[in-house]
């Protein structure tokens, strides 16, 4: 732990990289899983393909996915995208089922009322259907966020930054660095989770009103 205070600048730099590598994939994953979740909620065929596929993708070991990336997409070995894409895929895998189920659970009379009032489909989705799926989406985001913050460390094995570097360096020389990385990861995950939880409460006051 003392390592953190003795190397504060280095620590902040690692934190920034770690955070970037964890958050960017969550955002990308969210943007992708909303339309995919919608498609899965509307079509049985799409849901029969997308949901098992997302499960399979989730079972691919992260290290394997990271090392295979340069060969797949032609990126450089040390490009951050090699971590971002796999983590985005995991995020999609975690979110898509929940979003699809939540959209399906929007009561038929609510959708019918919206249509009958003159909503066009896109506006209806943005202002009525998706907002009702937000609680489930936030729950999925919290899992994806925490799991990404943990998994980013794997990137250190292929030379990408984040707290994972502390594990590799500490393994060779300094137990204190390992503890510093471990604790920093947990604290970061807790902070991110709390922020998302608060965001969820602010965005969905109606959920508590029903109880």
């Amino acid at each position: 732990m003392t390592w953190i205070f003795e190397n504060w600048d280095k620590f902040l730099e690692l934190t920034a990289v770690h955070l970037r590598l964890a958050v960017v994939p969550v955002l990308i994953g969210l943007v992708i899983s909303i339309p995919l979740g919608w498609v899965a909620s509307r079509s049985r065929v799409a849901s029969a393909v997308l949901l098992p596929l997302s499960n399979i993708l989730y079972t691919i070991p992260s290290l394997a996915m990271i090392v295979i990336m340069p060969a797949l997409i032609g990126s450089k070995i040390l490009d951050e995208i090699n971590v971002v894409i796999p983590l985005a895929i995991y995020t999609v895998a975690l979110l898509i089922r929940g979003i699809s189920d939540a959209l399906r659970a929007v009561p038929g009379h609510v959708v019918a009322a919206a249509t009958a009032m003159g909503f066009r489909p896109l506006r209806r989705f943005i202002t009525v259907e998706f907002p009702l799926a937000v609680p489930v989406t936030i729950a999925g985001l919290r899992v994806a966020m925490v799991s990404n913050i943990s998994m980013v460390s794997i990137g250190a094995l292929v030379g990408l930054g984040g707290y994972g570097q502390l594990f590799i360096e500490g393994y060779q020389s300094n137990q204190d660095k390992v503890w510093a990385g471990l604790i920093a990861t947990i604290v970061l995950a807790l902070i991110a989770d709390t922020l998302l939880q608060v965001a969820g409460r602010v965005l969905t006051p109606w959920v508590r009103a029903g109880r």
Partner: protein, 360 residues
């Protein structure tokens, strides 16, 4: 005015939901579509705002073919109330009501002001504005549903079994409220229900549908009861339709005097005594006793329905449901004015019949 001209709806599997429907809904009136499930009443309603498109025929709303308008635009001008209200759970009551004005391009402030007015119109105080639908009872949600449909002041209102998911007492209140609102607003309303009593109560005219999407009869409620077009209508209108016909008859029934006494007083009478409160509102009956007796709450037998001068049905029911066989008659403030007897109601009916006032 809404006009159905030879409208047919055939679903993809070949079922005919509505068969050559010809019907005119007069402007400013309530027309009720009633019938058993699968009779095409809801399909007919939903073709008006193109939630369902007809297979053939024409539907005109105020002279304009609905097929010539893009559905979302058409719907902005047609209010819609659905069973279970269909309120948006994530929006406050006020924002739910402001939905259509906002969709129609009003600014937020004007839309909310209008929404607040409408909540008052449907009898919800301003305390409800900031609540969410889940915090409301079923009856309150349905009031919000009505307010939401009225928000942009559409000339036409479609109501799809709006009150069928609430309990009977609340439903009756909502029906009365709708009639009161309609008295003020004069909308062109199409109301779908499977409940014949609701249809007869609310409709200026009632369209009875039967299986296969056929219109069995389209008539005023009294005519439907007294002159059903066929056996289907006769049986659908129910066995006690003779009795229910009385709902639509107003005739003078002699109101007789009754001995009344306030609670706590002492009364001497050898007949039934009606106990009243300080405002002369009825509280119960005291059965006949010999000699003087004190009127106390524990001796009272609760009364039947009250007759307010509205219809022969109310008069007869008051008499039949009263423990003394005397129907308590009240003025608009609820104060006792006298009693009516079943015999007198039947005599009044006979007189009305002789005078040709009762269709037969």
């Amino acid at each position: 005015m809404i006009e159905f001209r030879a409208v047919t709806k055939r679903f993809e599997d070949g079922t005919i939901a509505v068969d050559e429907l010809d019907l005119v809904v007069e402007a400013g009136t309530i027309t009720v579509f009633v019938g058993p499930s699968g009779c095409g009443k809801t399909t007919s309603l939903r073709m008006v705002n193109r939630m369902i498109d007809s297979t053939s025929g024409t539907i005109l709303v105020d002279g304009k073919d609905v097929m010539s308008v893009d559905p979302p635009t058409l719907r902005l001008g047609i209010g819609y109330v659905i069973q279970q209200a269909g309120l948006f759970p994530h929006r406050t009551v006020l924002d739910n009501v402001a939905t259509v004005p906002l969709l129609s391009g009003w600014d937020r402030k004007r839309a909310r002001t209008r929404a607040a007015e409408l909540l008052e119109t449907v009898g919800l105080d301003s305390g409800f504005a900031k609540r969410y639908p889940a915090q409301l009872s079923g009856g309150q949600q349905q009031r919000v549903g009505v307010a939401r449909a009225l928000a942009a002041d559409p000339p036409v209102l479609l109501m799809d079994e709006p009150f069928s998911a609430v309990d009977p007492i609340v439903r009756e209140g909502l029906q009365d409220e709708l009639l009161r609102l309609q008295g003020e607003l004069g909308k062109t309303i199409v109301f779908v229900t499977h409940d014949i009593d609701e249809a007869l109560k609310l409709g200026d005219r009632v369209a009875v549908f039967r299986e296969g999407g056929h219109l069995a009869q389209y008539a005023k409620p009294a005519e439907l009861l007294s002159a059903p077009a066929n056996d289907f209508v006769a049986s659908f209108a129910g066995r006690d339709r003779g009795y229910r016909t009385l709902t639509f008859l107003r005739a003078d029934v002699p109101v007789r005097e009754v001995t009344t006494a306030t609670l706590g007083s002492t009364v001497t009478s050898n007949g039934w005594v009606l106990a009243v409160d300080e405002n002369r509102r009825p509280v119960g009956w005291l059965s006949p006793v010999d000699g003087a007796t004190e009127v106390t709450a524990d001796k009272l037998i609760s009364g039947g329905s009250l007759y307010d001068g509205s219809s022969l049905r109310a008069a007869l029911d008051a008499a039949l449901s009263s423990p003394s066989a005397l129907g308590v008659t009240v003025d608009p403030d609820g104060a006792v004015v006298g009693v009516v007897q079943a015999d007198d109601v039947l005599k009044a009916l006979a007189t009305a019949r002789a005078a040709g006032e009762v269709p037969s």
